[in-house]
């Protein structure tokens, strides 16, 4: 990475301008080293928590790694362990699928200088729309039904986020505040729709606050593993395709150019003849579309129904998306890699996959939250990791050109 090492002056932009401008400086500043270092620091801190509470961090992380099924990829894993590892890896990829999409939702907005904190709400309305379409129209053909249900989820998410985008574009309401409010409105709408006696409550189980099941014809096909045991559905390819589309739009299209321009400097973009307001509305809609798509993938791929209880527990996914996008530096490749990391962490610490004799899954779930929180926190002050990196470089080079003026390095 030393070849891409920036001059100290390049880093001065890191504390100025819009989030996207900061992000751009961050990308220039550290390449792939900074996010890796950030993740390592967060995992080290997590290990410290494990150690302090009287457990063994090494065996715990080993158990989480095995629980994630990533050992399936290692050539030396014995053939006796492989079937279990394959099952675990299917779970990891199952969880990676929506994480990629909510990560893209945050990343896309970020590139336009917007902070979409409303992934939860957009994901939820996507779930509502998909579960409704997926559980109705039973007579439809399989492919059109799936397409319709997926489209409904994505459009619902897009419409929900567009409220925030339009408010930002027209009256300048801060998107962070509006998307937070929309999160909770979406949550209570769900509690209303699927509660006992609610308009979309299950017809079959009148005493359970749950939606109708997605009919067999609208479920995404499983291509790896047993469909009865939550095998891996084709949604992962939708997510991977979304990454490619994101990369193409960002780097090879006029829209992407405008989005990045508005993100880096709205005033200059306006001077250049771009409509900043239109960009804000459009970007939020596309961003919400990604999150709604994530909801569609989950509900049509393996959940098939939503209970009012799930609506409360599902509400962290938008925040996971923030961790994914920030760690992935809002690039396509980075978002994919970060989603896989957090997908592995989530499945590796789940009740189903983690060996409880080594570490309790309930504790581990909170460990996941701690690690994700630390990742976001460390990325928020990208200067910490950059500073550490610079300190290291300075020691290596024994350079005495005088200390850079950046505040943290002082």
């Amino acid at each position: 990475m030393s070849g891409a090492a920036p001059a100290p002056d390049d880093l001065e932009g890191a504390s100025a301008g819009t989030p996207a401008a900061r992000l751009a400086a961050y990308v220039r500043g550290g390449g792939v080293v900074v996010p890796v270092l950030t993740a390592v620091l967060a995992f080290l801190a997590g290990g410290l928590v494990i150690l302090v509470t009287g457990h063994d961090p090494f065996s715990t992380y080993k158990a989480i790694f095995d629980g994630s099924g990533l050992n399936w990829l290692l050539p030396w894993t014995s053939s006796a362990d492989r079937p279990a590892a394959a099952l675990n890896l299917q779970q990891t990829l199952l969880l990676t699928t929506p994480l990629i999409l909510v990560g893209l939702a945050v990343a896309f907005a970020f590139r336009c200088g917007l902070f979409n904190i409303g992934g939860n709400g957009q994901y939820l309305v996507g779930v509502y729309a998909s579960v409704w379409v997926g559980s109705s129209f039973a007579g439809m053909g399989k492919l059109p039904h799936i397409l319709l249900a997926v489209l409904a989820g994505a459009l619902a998410g897009a419409a929900w986020a567009a409220i925030a985008g339009v408010l930002k574009a027209t009256v300048g309401a801060h998107e962070v505040i509006t998307t937070i409010m929309l999160n909770y409105i979406a949550l209570w709408i769900g509690a209303y729709l699927f509660q006992l006696g609610g308009p979309l409550q299950s017809d079959a189980q009148r005493s359970v606050p749950v939606s109708n099941d997605v009919v067999a014809g609208a479920r995404l096909p499983v291509f790896w593993g047993d469909p009865q045991l939550q095998g891996l559905h084709v949604g992962i390819f939708v997510s991977l395709a979304a990454l490619v589309v994101f990369w193409l739009v960002m780097n090879r299209s006029t829209i992407g150019y405008e989005v990045r321009a508005v993100g880096l400097n709205p005033e200059a973009a306006r001077y250049g003849g771009m409509s900043v307001a239109r960009n804000y509305a459009l970007v939020m809609a596309v961003s919400g579309g990604f999150a709604g798509l994530a909801g569609a993938m989950d509900i049509l791929g393996w959940e098939f129904r939503i209970a009012t209880n799930d609506i409360n527990t599902a509400t962290q996914i938008g925040f996971y998306g923030i961790a994914v996008a920030l760690l992935g530096r809002s690039t396509a490749l980075g978002t994919g890699a970060a989603a896989l990391l957090f997908g592995a962490l989530l499945s590796g610490t789940s009740q189903r996959n983690l060996d409880p004799s080594i570490f309790e899954p309930e504790l581990a779930a909170n460990l996941t939250l701690i690690i994700q929180g630390l990742v976001i926190l460390l990325v928020s002050a990208d200067v910490i990791v950059l500073g550490l990196l610079r300190q290291g470089r300075r020691v290596v080079r024994r350079s005495d050109r005088g200390s850079p003026t950046h505040e943290v390095a002082r």
Binding site: S15, P19, R22, V49, T53, F115, I117, L167, V171, A173, H174, V176, I177, T178, I180, M181, L182, N183, Y184, I185, L187, W188, I189, A191, Y192, Q195, L196, G197, G198, P199, N312, Q316, F319, I322, A323, L326, E360, E362, L363, A365, N366, L367, T368, L369, I370, I371, Q372, G373, L374, V375, I376, L377, L378, V379, S380, A381, V383, I384, E407, V408
Partner: protein, 400 residues
């Protein structure tokens, strides 16, 4: 700015304000007379009052009072709708739902944690630091309050531990936001997840599956002997938790501090124009540090109210978005203590009503819970007069 408008058209603005407030009051009365104890069983008088409320609103709008005007019109419409609904429902049902003293008591119960959170939010944001992490700070207070009370056997020390825990998380926020000049919204988001993980981890590690024990010392209710015998007031506030009174006093204290003391003026100046404040010798970074930590301490009290005053137990993520409602109250109240209190009482009332409404219609009662968020969305959209944050909120300050 508002003073400039007031001096330009003093009499007109004043009467428009009065008309607006009168409209809001009339709208409330229109609904009130159809409910117990008055129970007017025909909608006509209510509709007349509601029409007068809308008229007051229109007058206020003509006088340039947008927020009050639209508020009065909304109150009139809501009052008419409420009254018509009430006259169409059974008297028995009405008496079940509308027991005013119980509603007031429940409103105060729901509003207390929100009020503490909102006070914290105001202190922090008035100093120029955005606080998305109120939720996490409340959660820290909720868990470490009950943890401390359990370990020490005293609720006073429990509150102290809660305040220290909330202050500690706030100190991290301050360090990132002020010293490292991190993006305050991003770091706040990270802190919320961190608080969720830390409290859940320590809770499970220490209490396991059993949960918190039943015999934890609780913050006591204040019994007012003289007040208890008064018919309505006694039931409403005669037996209210100590922390509720502290929260109400806190609103008054914060208002006095912010708007009537030199130190409060300095805090606000740091949030509006840090460069100017620094020029006259105010320590911007120091002021912001103190404000952020104070906000963590206040928010933690709100969380501690939930665990060791209201419920007497803790469960994971028990604040359940109340920190964000508190943030909504800050915005809805336009970053003023009195306004935020009005917002938390309104939000608390909607929760209290939602809790009792299922007697009528199970399904729609739940939608009342979304009211705080919808109102805040409308408030930031500027339909009823724009909420305006402190000018320097969210911008790190770089000393010269």
């Amino acid at each position: 700015m508002s003073t400039a408008v007031a001096t330009a058209r003093p009499t007109r603005t004043l009467s428009a304000r009065q008309a607006g407030w009168a409209g809001i009051a009339l709208g409330a009365v229109a609904w009130f007379i159809a409910l117990p104890p008055a129970l007017v069983r025909t909608p006509a008088p209510s509709l007349v009052l509601a029409a007068a409320a809308v008229g007051g609103g229109a007058w206020a709008l003509r006088g340039g009072e947008r927020r009050l005007g639209w508020g009065a019109i909304a109150a009139g419409v809501a009052g008419a709708a409420g009254a018509v609904a009430a006259t169409h429902s059974g008297v028995g049902h009405l008496r079940d739902v509308v027991t005013w003293s119980a509603l007031v008591a429940a409103t105060l119960r729901y509003a207390t944690p929100l009020t503490f959170g909102a006070l914290g939010g105001i202190v922090c944001e008035r100093s120029g630091v955005i606080n998305i992490a109120l939720e996490g700070m409340m959660l820290m207070g909720a868990f470490f309050g009950i943890f401390g009370a359990d370990l020490t056997g005293s609720w006073e020390l429990g509150l102290l531990v809660a305040m220290i825990a909330g202050g500690a998380l706030a100190l991290v926020h301050a360090f990132f936001a002020i010293t490292l000049r991190a993006d305050q919204i991003v770091s706040g988001t990270g802190l919320n997840l961190l608080a969720l993980g830390v409290t859940g981890y320590v809770f499970l590690d220490h209490y396991g599956d059993q949960g918190t024990p039943d015999d934890i010392p609780r913050v006591p209710d204040v019994s007012l002997p003289g007040v208890k015998s008064i018919p309505f007031v006694g039931d409403a506030v005669g037996h209210t938790n100590l922390l509720t009174w502290i929260a109400l006093l806190g609103v008054l204290a914060l208002w006095v501090y912010l708007f009537r003391t030199p130190s409060g003026l300095r805090l606000r100046s740091v949030g509006e124009s840090p460069r100017a404040a620094a020029t006259v010798g105010i320590g911007v970074l120091r002021t912001r540090y103190l404000a952020v930590v104070a906000s963590g301490v206040l928010a933690a009290l709100g969380g501690a109210y939930l665990s060791i005053a209201f419920l007497g137990s803790f469960n994971q993520g028990m604040t359940a978005g109340r920190g964000f409602i508190a943030l909504a109250a800050v915005i809805f109240g336009n970053w003023r203590p009195g306004g935020a209190l009005a917002a938390t009482l309104l939000f608390g009332f909607s929760s209290a009503l939602a809790q009792r409404l299922p007697t009528f219609s199970e399904s729609s009662a739940v939608l009342f819970q979304a009211l705080p968020y919808v109102l805040t969305l409308i408030a930031v959209a500027g339909v009823i007069g724009r909420s305006r944050p402190p000018a320097a909120a969210g911008r790190p300050y770089v000393p010269e």
